[in-house]
């Protein structure tokens, strides 16, 4: 837990190069083994949802605190216990309602100006697809023991 919070507060040294695949793999695999140790085998759905949260947490920690979307993801994950049911948020009029649908999909998208939203979206997509690639790779290599 300590190493996670210090990793979050240190700035991403390569903001233009994007998050390192290796760091992402390390974080996610570590989170996976933690989920395996702490979730009872009987609750399959619960474990699936925990793995999903671990995926977004690993993504966000690896992207670092320099991105608005990663900060929003971590805020959402850390306040999960205290959250009420998701109510539709009224978009701030200063940010404008351009690209409303996109604002709802990108974490933290509601409070951004249009330009920032487009930049954050690009980074978010890169990290999301990297995460998907990683998870697919783990599934493929783990499935190779099958019949």
């Amino acid at each position: 837990m300590d190493s996670k919070s210090s990793a979050c507060s240190s700035p991403n040294p390569n903001p233009t190069l994007g998050p390192s695949k290796l760091m992402l793999a390390f974080r996610f695999l570590r989170a996976l083994s933690l989920v395996r140790r702490t979730t009872p085998a009987s609750s399959r759905t619960c474990r699936g949802r925990r793995i999903e949260r671990a995926a977004y947490a690993s993504m966000a920690y690896t992207a670092g605190a320099s991105r608005a979307w990663s900060r929003a993801v971590l805020r959402r994950l850390h306040h999960r216990a205290r959250r009420r049911a998701v109510a539709p948020r009224r978009l701030s009029t200063t940010a404008g309602n351009r690209a409303e649908a996109l604002r709802r999909l990108v974490p933290g998208g509601g409070g951004m100006d249009y330009c920032t939203l487009l930049e954050e979206t690009a980074d978010y997509i890169k990290c999301l697809s990297m995460q998907v690639e990683l998870m697919q790779g783990i599934v493929d290599s783990a499935s190779s023991y099958g019949p």
Binding site: L32, V35, R36, A41, R44, T45, R47, G48, R49, I51, E52, A55, Y56, A99, A101, L102, L105, V106, Y114, C115, L118, E119, T121, A122, Y124, I125, K126, L128, S129, Q131, V132, M135, Q136, I138, V139, A142, S143, Y145, G146
Partner: protein
């Protein structure tokens, strides 16, 4: 007059900047989605981007379920786990 010109110039720069950002989003779309987007408007590209993000979210969810299933096969009692264990024993 100079004030008018400078505001026109700055809005042109912002428009260029925005269209650059939108083409960057277009370049991030996978090949299968990019095919129909070659002469698409900004609005259409944003719509396709939204659709792409939703599909990525779904993939994360599906892969999480599959990883959970794979963890189950590692737990005791499953035939695959038995196979792995017997290999490790030999």
């Amino acid at each position: 007059m100079p004030v008018e010109m400078s505001s026109r110039r700055s809005s042109r720069i912002t428009d260029e900047e925005i269209s650059e950002l939108i083409s960057k989003l277009q370049s991030l779309l996978p090949e299968s989605r990019r095919r129909s987007m070659s002469r698409a408007s900004a609005a259409k590209l944003l719509k396709e981007t939204c659709s792409y993000i939703k599909s990525l979210h779904r993939e994360v969810g599906d892969l999480s379920d599959r990883l959970s299933d794979l963890m189950s096969t590692m737990d005791s009692g499953s035939p695959q786990a038995e196979i792995i264990r017997s290999i490790l024993r030999s």
